[in-house]
């Protein structure tokens, strides 16, 4: 039988390696596994068993964190399919780069403009909707087996990463308002 430590994150949770996974089922399986392997279940076990329990629980925690995050899951799946992701390389997609600059400028305008709080909330909504659309697009493209599917997926991942970061910045600005 295959060891846990040689399985990929999808196999650990008994999911097929596709982007669309059921969050509720994931959480339920995560809890079931924790119930079996958590160090609290091995307090009186031998040293070796306790060590394995810590490492295995850490592995499950990591896998759960990756699978439950739409962004991290996309990245992991791309890597599983052999795509090398280097964050230090900026996209060569001119249209996307132009849009990034525009969105940043828009954020600055909103921040300093009149009615900033309301405008920020509206922008946050827009970003959320866009993340949702990106998620659906990724679901489709990861099921697609045409030749350039992975290139498309990578492009969607880059976009999602940018929007997520912008969203985080927005959260911080909103916090500063409170």
């Amino acid at each position: 039988m295959e060891s846990f430590f040689s399985k990929d994150y999808f196999q650990l949770f008994n999911f097929p390696a596709v982007y669309d996974i059921d969050r509720d089922v994931l959480t339920q399986r995560y809890r079931d596994m924790q119930g079996l392997i958590h160090p609290d279940r091995f307090v009186n076990a031998t040293d070796k068993e306790r060590r394995i329990s810590v490492q295995l629980t850490a592995l499950i925690n990591e896998a759960y964190n990756v699978l439950k995050s739409p962004l991290a899951r996309a990245r992991y799946l791309l890597q599983l399919r052999g795509v090398d992701i280097d964050d230090s390389v900026t996209s060569k997609d001119i249209a996307f780069l132009t849009e990034q600059i525009e969105l940043r400028e828009h954020l600055e305008d909103v921040k300093h403009g009149a009615n900033a709080e309301q405008a920020l909330m509206q922008l946050a909504d827009e970003l959320q909707q866009r993340l949702r659309r990106l998620q659906l697009a990724l679901e489709a493209v990861f099921l697609d087996d045409c030749a350039d599917a992975l290139v498309k997926a990578h492009r969607l991942y880059d976009e999602m990463q940018f929007i997520s970061r912008l969203n985080d910045e927005l959260d911080e600005i909103e916090d500063a308002f409170n």
């Binding site: 039988m1 060891s3 846990f4 008994n14 089922v25 339920q28 399986r29 809890r31 079931d32 596994m33 924790q34 119930g35 079996l36 392997i37 958590h38 160090p39 609290d40 279940r41 091995f42 307090v43 009186n44 076990a45 031998t46 040293d47 070796k48 068993e49 394995i52 329990s53 810590v54 490492q55 295995l56 629980t57 850490a58 592995l59 925690n61 990591e62 759960y64 964190n65 959260d171 916090d175 409170n178």
Partner: protein, 625 residues
């Protein structure tokens, strides 16, 4: 193997032995003991009928230390040898203490290890020793009450304690001779006490404002699993600060400067504490303090004026509340209820501010001073094995980010705050000079970008890197945080395999050898024959291993072991059984280690296979559902 023995009908013992376990709330001001009796968790009382043991120790030149109320009563007459609030110094460096110490009425001496010691007639006493003396007293009380040796304890710590403070707490338990089943975060313990009581599913906030620390945790409770979603706080903010602010105000009113004696200061702080407590119910309280000339200064304080005085302290607790909500990705509407923990939540204004902030009245059903100990007792009862089949599980987080120093005095974070523990994270670094053969690893904790602003946990060096061009070496640094929230770090050069591994011992904590020495020293005066105790512990450990290995062999030898492996394990087993008779600790330990080593692969294989089977069973259940 404990887990699977239970499911093996033939292996079940007819009479399950009840294990003795307690929960200990080791507080800044008071400590409490609790245990589960007949399925019900309750705090334990001492011979005088008190639930609380003041966390105060008085030291003598010619007698063992006195712990608890008797020590507290002597605080005014013997202030320098009577140590209170030692928890505030636990795991702290001299530099931290210099800021806190001005506010504490003791004399400090600097030590070589960088850990502060308090000068007393019994010599220099570290905060770890003070905590160990409190724990020892509680241990004796528990053993007398329960009628036997304790099999294990759960000790609570503030969720916002950093690695150094947790490590110091564990060192204190080790000095006291306790087996720690788990260090449990105080708010999590409180949630357990409430959650199991009310059985309510949903998101709970625990607002824990104690004697010396403030914590806030947000937990989700669902189907027996408590999942901590975020925690935040201030490990140097508590009721002590309320007393101090009030005392400073009283001194200013009475025209007293900062230059008053230790004993005098203690009395003023004591009076401030009394006024604070009285204002919980009274609208105004009279007080009197001694002037320098020895006359009495008398005045009155209204609750409204008191509230204005301490408003800044209460405001300081709301900032972490906001941050915890953000980290959990929740808004106020998602919160089901707010649980109040810690003596400082008795202050009416604190309750009002919390109610305003969370937009609902906080829960105060369980005595806020007892709830943590009760939760710890419930967890201890489960961990020690008194409730097989109990599904309750706590998934806790690390409160502060962990990282490494990189170029330019910056911190690179490896484990962000609020990551579920246990966690293992690795990151690769490289050399920046040609022919570099050593690399310094500096481990830091905190949220700030700069090394100078972070807490330094440890420094160590990875040596013996083969000389290579700059950037060619690949050094992987691995952080592992266990279920107690304690960190260990390993560094390895991947091209050569050179490795360096350390258990993190805080820069100003006790080294293993220091703990050993303190243990040895304390043994000279201990009442028990400690050597006997150690032999006993080793025998119990080994007996457990023998039992586990025999059960494992019966169950899984066929199919999981080659003949050769089986022979090796059986030989090691017989050898350990024989040395068990010898009464020689070193011999038994050696045979014990040999058996552990021989069964190591077998244990790993069994865990893999059995967990896989159990999970397959769970999956099947879900399909049937």
């Amino acid at each position: 193997m404990v887990l699977f023995q239970i499911s093996e009908p033939g292996e079940m013992k007819l009479q399950r032995q009840h294990h003795l376990a307690v929960g200990i709330d080791l507080g800044t001001t008071n400590s409490l003991l609790a245990t589960v009796r007949d399925g019900h968790a309750e705090t334990m009382v001492d011979a005088q009928g008190n639930h609380h043991c003041p966390s105060v120790v008085r030291y003598f030149s010619d007698a063992p230390p006195l712990v608890g109320q008797a020590a507290k009563d002597a605080a005014y007459q013997d202030p320098l040898n009577t140590i209170a609030s030692a928890k505030r110094l636990l795991g702290r460096g001299v530099a931290d203490v210099e800021t806190t110490a001005n506010k504490l009425p003791y004399e400090f001496s600097k030590t070589e290890s960088g850990m502060p010691s308090i000068k007393t007639v019994a010599g220099d006493i570290s905060p770890v020793t003070v905590s160990a003396d409190i724990l020892k007293k509680l241990m004796r009380q528990a053993e007398a009450d329960l009628g036997g040796e304790l099999d294990g304890v759960v000790i609570t710590v503030p969720a916002y304690f950093d690695d150094a403070q947790r490590q110091a707490t564990k060192d204190a338990a080790r000095l006291a001779g306790l087996k720690v089943l788990r260090l449990l975060n105080e708010p999590t313990a409180a949630a357990v006490a409430y959650g199991l009581d009310s059985g309510s599913e949903g998101v709970h906030v625990v607002y824990d404002f104690g004697g010396g620390t403030f914590d806030v945790s947000i937990l989700r409770f669902s189907r027996g699993v408590f999942e901590v979603m975020a925690t935040a706080g201030d490990s140097a903010l508590g009721g002590d600060d309320v007393d101090r602010v009030l005392a400073e105000w009283m001194m200013a009113e009475a025209g007293l400067g900062g230059e008053i004696g230790h004993s005098h200061l203690r009395r003023v702080i004591g009076e401030a504490n009394r006024v604070k407590e009285a204002l919980t119910t009274a609208d105004s309280v009279s007080f009197s303090i001694d002037t320098v000339e020895g006359s009495q200064w008398q005045d009155k304080l209204s609750r409204a004026d008191f509230e204005a005085l301490i408003e800044p302290l209460i405001k300081r607790t709301l900032r972490p509340c906001r941050r915890a909500l953000r980290d959990a990705g929740l808004s106020i509407d998602d919160i089901q209820d707010v649980v109040m923990v810690g003596g400082s939540t008795r202050i009416p204004r604190v309750r009002e501010c919390v109610a305003e902030f969370f937009e609902r009245a906080p829960m105060v059903d369980i005595d806020p001073d007892k709830v943590v100990a009760v939760g710890a007792a419930i967890q201890a009862d489960i961990l020690v094995g008194n409730k097989p089949g109990d599904e309750m599980l706590l998934l806790d987080v690390i409160p502060l980010s962990l990282g490494l120093e990189t170029m330019g005095g910056l911190v690179e974070k490896l484990v962000p705050r609020n990551t579920t523990i246990p966690v293992v994270r690795a990151q690769e670094f490289t050399t920046f000079k040609d022919g570099q053969t050593a690399m310094s690893v500096h481990v830091l904790q905190g949220e700030r970008e700069l090394v100078a602003d972070s807490r330094s946990l440890a420094r160590f060096e990875l040596r013996g890197i083969p000389p290579m061009n700059a950037g060619a070496a690949r050094i992987r640094v691995t952080f592992q945080v266990d279920a107690d929230g304690l960190l260990s770090v390993a560094a390895q050069e991947l091209t050569s395999g050179v490795e360096s591994r350390i258990e993190i011992k805080p820069s100003y904590g006790l080294s293993d050898s220091e703990v050993e020495k303190m243990l040895a020293d304390s043994l000279l005066y201990a009442e028990d024959d400690v050597k006997k105790r150690r032999l006993h512990e080793q025998l119990v450990d080994s007996a457990r291993l023998i039992e586990a290995v025999e059960a494992a062999l019966n169950m899984d030898a066929d199919g999981m072991l080659s003949n050769k492996e089986c022979v090796t394990i059986k030989a090691a087993l017989i050898s350990l059984k024989e040395t068990q008779q010898s009464e020689e600790i070193a011999l038994i330990k050696a045979a014990h280690d040999k058996l552990e080593c021989a069964t190591s692969d077998f244990a790993a294989r069994r865990m893999d296979i059995h967990i896989n089977e159990a999970l397959a069973g769970k999956l099947l259940d879900q399909i049937i559902d």
